[in-house]
């Protein structure tokens, strides 16, 4: 029976090739999009899975409440892990510190010659860290390998890179930062791409403590690079542990600070999704965006299903006779439903196969967009296969059930006499579905237009400084390197094409920001923190910053002169900027005097408002030399800079970026959003309009007789096309009215995440309306024109 159904299904699909093609095209594109979205979401949700005890692992988060602000960091004060281990014995099995850092690793061969010099990110970790998070150890174990100072554990990939073969690595030694020799004591398996812990070089935490940094005992300094992980005791609850935190905070923190400290525990599985806190891997994907994608996927599928339902119910009439005959022959309604569902299933399975091909084709584009390796391997991830099966069943049911009910419900007597007509109820359902479909399409068009406009606004907005053709070249900041700063700058300045250079801690806009309390004009501590930047006397010239009162920094190696920005003075209630000149600012336990005011510039992404900023000189804090280049000679100049850099600082590893690239990195998420919106809006428009074409084809066929009668009554082609198009244009117009308020809610909410944003005006809405109406008009007219010029006589022959 099933085989026969399948055969008949196949013949029917073949008979209506046009509709079948439209159905398969729409469904396969919709399904391909869904599969892409699914494998992406699956990949994102797979982050940090498969750790033992994952439900008991937490990261300690630090928070500060200031009078006008609250912010959090994934970092903790460096003495915190030890204190917590001591004070939370009841609640926690393990507490471990891990410190992210980076440096130059050198490997010498037997003869003592330097064989490899490479700059790598490293992590200092306590042995307990590996008992909290279960990594796979290929050689050694955390207890032994990381309990002594000057020991290092490598990932197998890193060990292969440094020693050729990781099996030979253990026992050998590497040099780190030209300072210490580290003995390789263990090998762990390379962490997968979907991990928030990209550990490659793990140095024992005792090595870090041995370097005797002052901040390692300071409760007042927090860097987001020093994290602390805890393993909750079995049976203990994190709420209980949290209750002990206030006591812990009072015990260790000094009470006189302006901001109030707090801590909380973040679940391991939240780390990948929390964009505010970040992680070592710098890969975050807010759950919100995953939900957004899932909704788009559902919309796509819905649109494709609506196409199917519309076409199927429209065609249903022509199957009336078959239904009648079958019923007369004794078919049960149930059997007819099964038969029609078989047809839908056939189409869906074909669509899935086509969809898989499309997925495979689109995958490289998706991978380059997300810069991640996303797998579409059913063998690796059987869940994808399960998803596809569910998808097929869901689509078959969603799309096939209603038409099957309609068709199987025909009364045999009427059906045989061909007295079945598309009833009014069916038509109005179709109309509602078309309106829903187009409302979705129009919302996406509006969304796309707004996202694209905001993107171009961000690209074009003047930031208050000139980011073009500025290279940011890393410089080491140890005392040995500092002595060569002068030479390096002098030589770079001589390169043709270099316009100006400046040592600084960070570019005007940077994702590395330091906030400090300060005293202005000898008064008590400020109620807000200032963003501090350091740079030499050429900082303003190199970045094109504008001084609007006083003058810029003069040559100095330590804090002496201070330049503040407008926001700083506004927050201090200084109206006349010249009043501030000469006033003192005490910051980081050093005092300087304001000599100039710089015009406000955006110091972070446009999501954030401008911070109050203090700029001064401090040779020891420089990490970068910014080089303003003549845009015509960037390439040769960069090569020359690298050459000079390597001659002046041969012990170190050269690294550079461009200011423009840094800034566009801020908007990576928006760029991805924009690209996704463009693609999916395109797909949904396409699906909707082929559906529309199918529907108008059907309507035109059904009204052939009417068209013919009207023709002999003297209707012109234009009048007929107008008549056929009218209801479609009306439907799309209604869809516009439905879509506008919804789209407004969505885009207004999205824009609210930007401090600097475009004004939302009527144009994207009007434009979406024009686009949708024009495309509808074209789609529908193509078909209705054809209907209007067909041969009249064929339609008027006797039945």
């Amino acid at each position: 029976m099933f085989k026969l159904n399948l055969k008949i299904a196949w013949r029917n699909l073949w008979k209506n090739k046009g509709y079948t093609f439209i159905n398969i095209l729409g469904l396969s594109i919709g399904m391909a999009s869904c599969i892409l979205i699914f494998i992406f979401i699956r990949y994102q949700l797979s982050f940090d899975e498969n750790f033992k005890n994952e439900n008991r692992i937490y990261r300690v988060i630090s928070g500060w409440t200031t009078p006008d602000n609250f912010f959090e960091s994934a970092g903790t004060p460096r003495p915190l892990p030890a204190a917590m281990r001591n004070d939370f014995k009841q609640q926690f099995d393990k507490v471990a510190a891990i410190q992210a850092s980076g440096g130059i690793i050198k490997v010498k061969d037997e003869s003592g010659k330097e064989r490899i010099k490479t700059s790598e990110s490293v992590h200092y970790a306590e042995p307990d860290f590996f008992e909290i998070l279960s990594f796979k150890w290929l050689d050694g174990n955390p207890r032994q390998s990381l309990s002594q100072p000057n020991t290092v554990v490598l990932s197998d990939e890193m060990a292969d890179k440094l020693f050729g073969d990781w099996h030979k690595a253990v026992g050998k030694s590497v040099n780190f930062q030209n300072k210490v020799d580290l003995k390789v004591t263990g090998i762990i398996e390379k962490t997968p791409d979907n991990s928030s812990f990209p550990l490659k070089v793990i140095i024992s935490y005792k090595t870090y403590l041995n370097q005797a940094r002052p901040e390692s005992t300071n409760w007042g300094t927090v860097s987001s690079t020093s994290e602390c992980y805890v393993l909750l005791k079995e049976g203990a609850s994190i709420e209980d542990a949290s209750k002990s935190l206030p006591q812990f905070i009072t015990k260790y923190y000094k009470r006189d600070n302006v901001s109030k400290e707090s801590h909380r525990f973040q679940q391991l599985r939240d780390i990948h999704y929390n964009a505010d806190l970040g992680n070592f891997a710098n890969k975050v994907m807010p759950k919100k965006e995953l939900y957004g994608l899932a909704i788009i996927g559902a919309f796509l599928l819905l649109t494709a299903c609506i196409n199917f339902i519309n076409l199927a119910t429209a065609q249903a009439v022509s199957r009336g006779k078959e239904v009648g005959v079958r019923k007369v022959m004794g078919s049960l309604r149930r059997q007819l439903i099964v038969q029609f569902l078989t047809e839908t299933l056939t189409i869906t399975v074909i669509s899935l196969l086509v969809g898989c091909v499309l997925t495979e084709v689109a995958l490289p584009g998706m991978q380059s967009l997300f810069k991640d390796h996303i797998s579409f391997s059913i063998i690796e991830h059987p869940i994808i296969f399960v998803f596809m099966v569910i998808l097929v069943l869901l689509v078959s049911f969603l799309a096939g059930f209603y038409p099957a009910m309609v068709m199987s419900g025909y009364s045999p007597a009427l059906a045989i006499k061909n007295k079945i007509t598309a009833n009014a109820a069916g038509l109005s359902l179709r109309k509602i579905l078309v309106v829903v479909q187009f409302a979705i399409t129009i919302i996406l068009i509006i969304g796309t237009l707004v996202v694209l406009r905001q993107m171009s606004y961000m690209r074009e907005k003047p930031l208050g400084f000139i980011p073009t053709a500025v290279a940011l070249v890393d410089v080491p900041s140890d005392s040995m390197a500092i002595t060569r700063y002068h030479t390096l700058q002098d030589q770079i300045n001589k390169i043709p094409g270099v316009l100006s250079t400046s040592y600084c801690s960070a570019a005007p806009s940077s994702d590395s920001n330091n906030e400090s309390n300060f005293r202005y004009n000898g008064t008590v501590k400020s109620t807000f923190q200032a963003n501090t930047k350091t740079g030499d006397e050429n900082y303003f010239k190199t970045f094109g910053l504008e001084i609007i009162a006083g003058k810029g920094l003069s040559k100095s190696d330590t804090i002496k002169d201070i330049v503040v920005n407008e926001t700083m003075l506004k927050k201090l209630n200084v109206v006349n900027y010249n009043d501030a000149i000469g006033k003192s600012i005490r910051i980081n336990d050093k005092t300087g005097y304001i000599i100039g005011v710089v015009k406000d510039f955006n110091n972070m992404s446009l999501h954030e408002p401008i911070s109050p900023i203090v700029i001064n000189s401090d040779k020891e804090s420089y990490t970068t030399i910014a080089v303003k280049l003549d845009s015509k000679s960037i390439l040769p100049a960069m090569q020359a800079i690298e050459k000079i850099w390597n001659t002046v600082l041969p012990e170190y590893v050269y690294g550079s970026t461009f200011m423009d690239d840094k800034i566009s990195e801020y908007y990576q998420t928006e760029k991805i959003m924009g690209a996704l919106f463009k693609v999916f809006a395109g797909v949904i428009i396409f699906i909707s309009f082929i559906g529309l074409f199918g529907l108008i084809s059907f309507v035109a066929t059904q009204r052939t007789r009417e068209v013919a009668i009207r023709k002999v009554l003297g209707a012109s082609t234009l009048e007929l096309v107008k008549m056929l198009n009218g209801s479609f244009l009306l439907m799309v117009f209604v869809a516009n009215l439905v879509a506008w308020p919804l789209a407004y809610l969505f885009v207004a909410k999205w824009l609210a995440t930007f401090t600097y944003r475009i004004d939302l005006n009527i144009w994207p809405f009007v434009f979406a309306m024009i686009i949708s109406m024009v495309i509808t008009l074209i789609t529908v007219s193509i078909r209705s024109y054809k209907a209007a010029v067909t041969n009249t006589i064929d339609a008027l022959k006797y039945e």
């Binding site: 009668i709 009207r710 023709k711 002999v712 009554l713 003297g714 012109s716 006589i793 008027l796 006797y798």
Partner: protein, 227 residues
Amino acid sequence: MIQLNNIEKYYANKGIKNYVLRLVTTTIKQGEFVSIMGPSGAGKSTLLNIIGMLEEPTYGSYEFLGEDVTSLNERKRIELYRNHIGFVFQAYHLIDEMTVYENIEAPLLYKKVGSSERASRIADLLDRFNIVAKKDLFPNQLSGGQQQLVGIARALAAQPSIILADEPTGNLQSAQAEEIMTLFKKLNQEDGITIIQVTHSEKNAQYGNRILHIADGVVKEDVAILS
């Protein structure tokens, strides 16, 4: 009024010409009531369709009101439909979604007749055919004869000079058929409207004043009826 010269119509099928009409030459004058008769498949309907410009002859020339319309562009043809030709079909071909009133109004809308003029003409037709009470009904609520009356009213609405009727009574009972034929005769005699009908029935043909007998695509006989 209508001049057909050597009209031929054939369908080529695998190189073989299947003739439907062969060398039909005839003239129909203003005010005539012509019946085209013949066995099934003789080419009656095709001839009527050619006269109604619904089909084009393969060969031959056709003059309508002194103008060669053998291959007429669409705009001119629509112009003729709007002003000179009314069609009546065996299957009535009313528009199902429109009421009686709206069906009759349709050709006037295409002819761009003003609204008050439209209303008076439709009222006149409804009155004349005794279907005033039915004006708000839909076609499927009427009997066949009534539907055909509406069909004729619709054909007359645009005040054509010629009515082309393809077996107008083919679907009707004899009483209703008689009524329709009497109406045609009246229209022909009182209003001077030229009528060309295709019919199987010798009886119906007697209402007219001329009969064209067609067999195998050829005009066999052209008989005038003296009443």
